[in-house]
Amino acid sequence: MKNPFTNGVIKHWLACSLVIAFMTLNAQETKAQNIINGRVNNSSGEPLVSATINNKRSKKATATNSTGEFSIAANMGDVLEISFAGMRTQEVAVNGPGAITVTLNASDAIEDEVIVVGYGTQKKINLSGSVATVSGKTIAQRPTPNIQNLLQGRVAGLDVVQSTGEPGRDNGALRIRGLGSYGASSSPLILVDGVIGSINNLSPQDIESVTVLKDAASASIYGARAANGVILITTKKGKAGKNVIDYNGSWSTSEATAYPDLITNSVTYMEMYNQANARSGRALQYTQAQIDLYKNNPNSEQYPNFNWLDYVLGKGPIQNHHLGFSGGSDKTTYNLSMNYLDQNSITKGYLYKRYNALLDLATQVHKRVKVSTNINFSFQDAKAPWLVNDDLLLLAYASAPTFKPFLPDGSGRATNRDFAGNTSGNRSVEEVYNTGGQFTKTYNVNAQAFAEVDVIQGLKWLSKAAVTFYNQDFKNRQFASPSYAYQPNAGGVYTQVANGNPTYLGLRQTSTRNITKTFYSTLTYSKTFAVDHTLNALAGYEQQNNVSTNLDGARYDFPNNTIMELNGSTGLNQTTGGGSSDWALQSVFGRINYQYKEKYFLEGNIRRDGTSRVDPKYRWGTFSGGSVAWKISGENFLKENVSWVSDLKLRASYGTLGNQEIGNYPYQEILSLTSYPYTGLNSGALLTRLVEKNLRWEKTAVTNFGLDLELFKGLFGATVDLYKKNTTDILAQRADLPSSVGLTAPTVNAGAMVNTGIEVELRHQHSIGEFTYGASVLFHKYKNEVTKVLAPTLGTFEVGQPYNNYFLYVWDGIFQSQEEIDKSPKQPSSGVLKPGDLKIKDISGNGTVGPEDRVRYSRFPDYNYSFNLNAGWKGFSVTAFFQGVYGQDVQVGDWGYDPFFQGSAPPTKFLNAWTPANPSNTIPAVYLRGYSGVSGYASTYFLQDASYLRLKNLYLSYTFPQNIVKKFASQGLIVYLSGDNLVTWTQYEGNDPERAGSGRFAQFPQLRIYTAGVSIKF
């Protein structure tokens, strides 16, 4: 690879493709042909509409009409291949001029399922690596807005955590087989139809299948990008046959799954706040006169007991419409679809609209040449308050129950505190709603064109050129709006108090553009020798480059609050900025796949990648993997003796992968541009970091052992995989760089981490008469262990332990009396202990609770699991999908957890807090954050078990019988009801346990969504 390649390649290739196409088109088929008629039925004799009939010799294809009939040109002796989705494909030889009747049987999924793998497809049953798939049908069953989250609980080993229910910002975090790195990215590579693309460009109905390449043997064909696994998304393609119009509409309402009960009685709140202040030795928040006002006028308009969370969190309607057209002739197929999503939030201030379009077009331009294009597009139009997510929600927590959002005089003026002179908590939500917003318009286009050429028998050449385009226009507009103290001053006048001020007044606009150009070309060869030996080989070349640019500007001086463009301002004090970055990757790769008698399987993958992100000396790296499998059920001794074992296969694989998500220019010694105003602003250049030149990508080796089992032809099935994923050369900062060097530390390849895990998938599917039912269970457990650290930190980051443990004092109850304090081991609190403070366990038993008494708690869950139950009878079907995490600890605090943090009301459990009269051993005396007796040190008081099991989705549908739908010319009609996040079982107090991890207790809630929908086909 001495001579790297350029974009020019794509042009050459396109030109050449045209030449080939032109030359090959000159050949004409001249032989006379007969027209053969026929009919395709299912096993119960009903006609199959739009079944595909393909003449294997002439490559011509057609489809059955609405009565299941077809006609096709064929010679004597030609073989027709008849296929229909969900049915087993049959081949029929043309033996005479008479009509042919073909009966297709429901496909035996186990035998025939073909799945997408890297740069190709394979029969699932012949896989030797660890690969899982999810069908588009399964994905579309949960009508929730974000597609990424639909993968949650569907693949053993793929853990998805959705951290928020915020419209348009609810992308889940995907992790395949645990945390892959702590230096570079841990996100899997996501490819849409083989090219880097945005998953949000697709609507669930557009997805044909999702394949997850979990082990290194399967993923090594993607080399330096595949360390965290690969997710291959395949969009639906048109099928030859009748044109189908398909409409799917759903209407939903969403609400918060959970939010805590905070104290809303104002008098209780005020008195408790004073107690907490007194305990910390601070000035009281409220005077007795102020408290008396609330005491004497309980729950009046002027002296309310207001529940801010109830006020802020409401219902958000969602609707989604999908319209698809697909079909085609024997030469050309198409699939065209459009999707519109309109999602309101459960809070004010949001509106999210997503428009998707998909176009897939394929044409057989010659019997050996097929050209296709696939374009998907999305436009996301999101409006949000200028503070979002938990930054927004915590404002509701921080608002005291002593005031309402607007002044009691009905003037509509917003408020931000009770009494003008008192310390306030934070802004109020209404102030944020009223002072601007952020507006994000995001455009995504994934466009690709490709040509497949049957060069000679068994040899195929495919070339693809693709562009992924991303453009985002972001505007953050803020303006001032006065807000007031809820209680009037002594003169009876409402006074304005500044608190909800925006972060600036004006408009900031950022335009970001990102273009990835990909080109690849593959040759595949497939041949069977001497009946029993089958060889598949693949060789390919790929290059891609990415350029991202941004431009931003801000102006501050606007004549009114409605102008949304920079030019509407005078430009006083305006600022501008902009930048760009780029990377490129160049690769060759290959695969050899050999099988003997469909019993013994061998596969090898190799890829050589060169990346712009690494110094030229170390730029090229080779990644490879191999796998073997033995299908025991193919052996005669099993076939003959235990026929109920339909499939039994053992797999083993090993391979190496890279992670090039290490930043764009990590190895280069660069001077940052800066400025300093001697008089006017002058440009400056400054070295800010030390650089390690020989920096390289991270490497991951995965060993995998697997077992596939099917009993009684699909009645029971199981897949089990054991893996060990060893990541080395993890990027880490030289943490031992003294600050006296005055530069940031160099990044070096220094760390290592191992994830060891087991994935289990169990399946059961059965039918009794017209009643069908099934169940499946997924289970994933892994252990994370740091095996090498450059600069260990005791307790949290050390060899032999999971990454980033919590390292906490163990909370062991509440001190009930001074005597108890006096006779207990010395506590870690730096202040004077009082009864009602936390009691911390002296683990070492040396009489003093010191740093040695801290205990490690893992951040990783014990296991993830999910199960799916389905049942069907005639047209009715029901699916219940449960998903859970066990043993997940999170460390939380602040709003809604620590009483009166920024004035936030404590949870109602503090009504039972320790007092001399109420000797609680579970809730400490009301305190302020920072109070030494509770939060002066990190303890398990702040550690919560966020394990949960939830009914993620319940789906009920009714499919109308054919004889009814035919009356209005429809080919299918389904109505359904669906519920998301319906029930949750958890120990986690007050809020939703499904959260991104540790941090603020106050979260933007997850959504419970009730949906009604209809799907109709013409």
Binding site: A498, Y504, I670, Y678, A685, S739, G742
Partner: protein
Amino acid sequence: MKTRYICIILVAVVVTGLLPSCNKSYLDKNPTDAISNGAFWKTDADVQMGLTGVYRRLQSGFFGHYKLWLDTYSDNAYDRHSYFNFGELTQGVVNPGNVSGNFYNAPYQGIAAANYFLDNVEAAPIVEADKNKYKAEARFLRALFYFDLAQSFGGVIIYKTAPKSVDDSKIKQSTKDELLTFIHEELDFAIANLPDVVYAGHAVKGSAQALKANVFLLQQNWAQAATLAGEVMTAGKFLLYQGGYQNLFLTPTQQANPEIIFSTKYLAPNNPQGGEGLLVEIGWYGAINPYQNMVDEYEMANGKMITEAGSGFDPANPYNNRDPRLKMTIKVPNDPFINPDGSVFQHSDPLLTGFTQKKYLDLTKLPFDRSKIPLTDQNIIHYRYADVLLMYAEAKNEATGPDATVYAALNSIRSRTGVNMPPVDQLLYNTKDNLREFIRHERRVELGLEGHRYFDLKRWGLMQAKLAPLKNPGGTPLKFGELNNVLPFPQGELDKNPQLTQNKDYK
């Protein structure tokens, strides 16, 4: 048929053959918005950019606008929002874990920038005279950074060139004397090579002389300090600004101001102060709350202390008839900020001492809210001519006792237009000891809330004496332990560099 296959294969071969013909740069990607070191240091413009990078470090830590917070580690004011934990430090709780990293990190970032510049400028093909001037500026800045370390920690590690690797950087600290000697060397070079002109942003000869005078003051080398300060005075490049004391601290009147000798500069909107800027932090949040003790330091307009007989101090109207600098420095309770719409500006939080800092606040930018962040660009003064006069008075008085030049220096400050305080009472402050007290008083008043008090009190050994009578707003008495005259090195730094030894008493 056959020819067609040949055709296809031919084309395939040609296409494949074309692929490697492309240019070699496909994988060579360089940062598009930064400069690669290899291509730099070739022209005068490059060198100037490199020098500007060193100046930029003035905006970090206590060299930038956070310098003003240093007064909250003294008897002047309270760190209302605990920006730098000074509330705890002024209770005598000082340990390797609770001291702001700014004390250590920011000067070393500046030193790294200066070293990097000085290491590279030598080979740059530019005019030698210019090179010496640039080097003098960088060495002045390096001295400024090291002097800050010397005042905070005593002896520290000296890097005269940038360490080449992480391992090279782990060396022993020098003693305070070695450090001060090095600083003098730096300043001697700077004084010899900097232009003797007025200050406009680049360091000038006077800047280096003022700093050197300050170093001598720390060393209690009174004669030398007086000489250096006197040289600045006789050179006549700097003057007391007569356009209003409060305007010394406001951007428009800081430009070409004859009094400013060296400052950290900002420029709105593209280079405003870091953090949220002092209009928000001090103006809105009220982050710096002066103690009553500081307010009481201000004389009556008649030149008498408020406790002095016949001062005319009226406890009912405590802020009337006071030294005008009081209300130009501190916002007192009956002096509200008025918004442009006539309403009274409200601070975000109650003022815990009843007072808040006013100096450096541009009241034309009211109301102070976050929209003012990009507009906050007051230059933070390190040395101004009044400071030089005060240094002269202090040094001269210590060296030779009171003389006319000492009184003249003090009186010129007091008679500034708009301040118009009566001359020093020469009968009352007639001895070295008496006058010393007065000079210290005048220094506290004139330079109040400018970030000098912490280092001044330490230099005078008066921290504990001045803090002990005070209580913080929570009622806790203030305290300053003897050992706190030097700060402890951060624990992380000791862990990373085993050669560094902790300052005594923190071990």
